[in-house]
């Protein structure tokens, strides 16, 4: 398949602009993740690709052909809904076979009353039955094949929804937060299954999520969206290590990148009138900047050893690693704690520093990411 091109696509609902002028290209066989917070327009964009929501302006092209007015069917897409949207009155077999049965229908088979009878007949078709069984076996649904959706657990329903998408061999798979209704363990398992499925079928996947862990682990490429605008398009590594702006820096990563507004004068950076510290290298330019550093690039040291004096405020143990939240301190006493977002440090092991204990933070100059304080855009070193 086809390359999918979104060319200055926009969507407005009444007076609300949900997506403003978005352009992107989805390559054949890639796993593209649309990542963004709730209400950023990512699901709307997916529905526009599917043909379920009209496009207000711009153009969608499948393989170079304008597809704005194509029906979902003409676009040859499969869609997995967040709610799964299974047919409650049909068995698992009926649900999975439905797309194939519809493909096998002649126009007059769609007549009311005829269609119910034809559907049951088509389901007995050896080719369709064999394919249904094969897909069900692949997703370990064969013991449940005669149950209805009401009798299935969340994970099982999710697998039925996936099976229904897989059976037809479409050119693009569109998945709208398919894992958000599952518990953590099942989500991890399904994440791995969807990834391996992508490798196996080798088709294009477009996957919507607000969960950056899903995005980082599954994607070959990520589009980060906010307020209907593309913030960054890149591989998970690019998004993580070289965020295009402060929004991406904050949204991706857990805990997110530490961002401090500083006034730079050469290698000396001032956070507040009473706290300034030395940075190994000169800042990209003088004036007000945002200093960004990932939690795992910060090092927790005894007081006085690092350039940033701080106090331990929060300690979270994640088993194999701990996350320490610190508040920066000016002048070395508690009275001078700086009112600022906590600065997080992530480090391996489970050695917990005492709450309230003084400490200092150090970092390597090369790990710092700089942003413009006004536009929020990343400054190239």
């Amino acid at each position: 398949m086809p390359e999918l091109v979104l060319d200055t696509v926009a969507k407005t609902f009444g007076d609300t602009q949900v997506i403003r002028s978005l352009s992107a290209t989805v390559e054949d066989g890639e796993f593209l993740v649309l990542l963004g917070p709730s209400g950023c327009g990512k699901s709307t964009l997916l529905r526009m690709i599917a043909g379920l929501t009209e496009i207000t302006a711009g153009e969608i092209r499948f393989d170079g052909k304008r597809a704005n007015d194509w029906s979902p069917r003409e676009r040859d897409v499969a869609f997995v809904f967040q709610s799964y949207a299974l047919y409650p009155h049909m068995t698992v077999r009926g649900n999975i076979a439905f797309p194939l049965v519809m493909d096998a229908f002649r126009p007059w088979h769609h007549l009311p009353l005829v269609n119910g009878w034809m559907r049951r007949r088509r389901m007995k078709d050896p080719a369709i039955a064999a394919r249904t069984d094969a897909i069900a076996r692949q997703l370990e649904l064969d013991p449940l094949i005669d149950r209805r959706p009401a009798g299935l657990s969340g994970g099982q329903r999710q697998r039925v929804a996936l099976a229904r998408a897989l059976i037809r061999d479409p050119s693009i798979y569109l998945l709208d937060e398919p894992l958000s209704n599952l518990d953590a363990r099942l989500r991890m398992q399904m994440r791995a299954e969807i990834s391996s499925l992508h490798h196996k079928v080798g088709k294009t996947f477009v996957y919507v999520t607000h969960d950056q862990v899903e995005a980082m682990t599954m994607a070959t490429r990520i589009i980060v969206l906010d307020k209907g605008e593309v913030q960054q398009i890149g591989t998970p590594d690019e998004i993580y290590h070289a965020p295009a702006n402060t929004f991406v820096a904050r949204f991706v990563g857990s805990p997110s990148m530490n961002l401090l507004t500083v006034d730079g004068e050469g290698a000396q950076l001032r956070i507040s009138p009473s706290l300034s510290f030395a940075h190994g290298e000169a800042a990209p330019r003088a004036g007000r900047l945002v200093f960004g550093i990932r939690p795992e690039k910060l090092e927790l040291r005894p007081p006085g050893e690092g350039p940033l004096p701080a106090e331990v405020v929060v300690v979270e143990s994640l088993g194999a690693e701990i996350v320490v939240g610190c508040r920066l301190q000016a002048g070395g006493t508690r009275d001078h704690l700086i009112d600022h977002d906590l600065v997080f440090v992530r480090r391996p092991g489970n050695e917990r520093p005492a709450l309230g204990s003084p400490c200092s933070l150090s970092f390597a100059a090369g790990d710092v990411v700089w942003f413009d304080a006004v536009t929020g855009l990343r400054l190239k070193p």
Partner: protein, 277 residues
């Protein structure tokens, strides 16, 4: 604890018995009156249970009357009303529920208005229309007139039921290459079967019991439905009570059967499990 639940169970049983007695007594009294000595009915001392030995007398009394024909006419009118109401009500209810179009509110309002206007009020204009359209003395005309009143009810019931179905299920079917009409007939209608059954009951009984239109639009005795036929028993000087009750009993049997058949479908909960609840 068990003594308490025993008492509660007993009270519940009594309550059910009382309700059954209240609901069932008219039918019982119809049977009692139908199978009794006509002479006794006009004097005091009617035997309070059916007396099968008067069955012959009842048959003799009804002989020569087109009771069977009346029943068939009623069945035709009730079934026709149900079919027309459900068919058009499903389409209209689906459109009102799923499509946004200009005049949607007006359509809803006009449908509601049909329920506000009493039938007797539009009887004369309707009569004039039926004369112009040649629908007088025609059972199809009666079906149309009845459907005009039960269709809005069916439409509202269907619309309400479809509103409760997540639209994603339909979108899913559209993506699976199912055309709109297939979405409606293969996905939506099976899911709202309980509501359709309820609408069917309302439309069927509206057609079954209807008297005013039938007595106005049908002059031909063989076209009468049973309701008009029954009323024709009432004479100026005499009303044959056992014949009226016998016919009424006959008349209510198909209706009871219809209800018993369809009431199994009036169960909700079919949509559970479609989407994460």
């Amino acid at each position: 604890m068990s003594a308490l639940s025993l008492i509660l169970g007993f009270l519940r049983a009594i309550l059910v018995l009382v309700l059954v007695a209240v609901a069932g007594f008219p039918i019982y009294w119809m049977a009692t009156t139908a199978f009794s000595d006509p002479g006794q009915l006009y004097a005091s001392g009617q035997v309070p249970w059916p007396q099968p030995q008067y069955f012959g007398a009842l048959v003799a009394e009804l002989e020569g009357l087109p009771v069977g024909r009346w029943m068939l006419n009623t069945l035709f009118v009730a079934t026709g009303t149900t079919v027309v109401s459900l068919l058009l009500g499903s389409l209209a209810g689906y459109a009102l529920s799923r499509f946004r179009f200009h005049g949607r509110g007006v359509v809803g309002f006009l449908l509601f208005m049909t329920q506000v206007v009493p039938e007797a009020l539009i009887l004369v204009p309707l009569y004039a229309m039926f004369v112009a359209l040649g629908l007088l003395n025609n059972l199809l005309g009666l079906v149309l007139a009845n459907a005009a009143f039960s269709l809005p009810v069916a439409t509202f019931i269907v619309k309400g039921a479809i509103d409760a179905i997540p639209y994603e299920i339909e979108e899913s079917a559209l993506i699976d290459n199912c055309p709109r009409i297939g979405v409606l007939t293969m996905i939506v209608l099976p899911l709202i079967a309980p509501s359709l059954a309820a609408a069917a009951v309302i439309a069927f009984f509206a057609g079954w019991n209807e008297y005013l239109f039938a007595s106005t639009f049908l002059m031909n005795r063989t076209l009468w439905p049973a309701s008009v036929g029954l009323a024709s028993f009432i004479g100026q000087y005499e009303t044959p009570l056992s014949a009226v009750m016998g016919t009424a009993l006959l008349f209510s049997l198909p209706a009871i059967t219809f209800f018993l058949v369809i009431q199994r479908r009036i169960v909700s909960g079919l949509t559970s499990g479609a989407v994460k609840g």
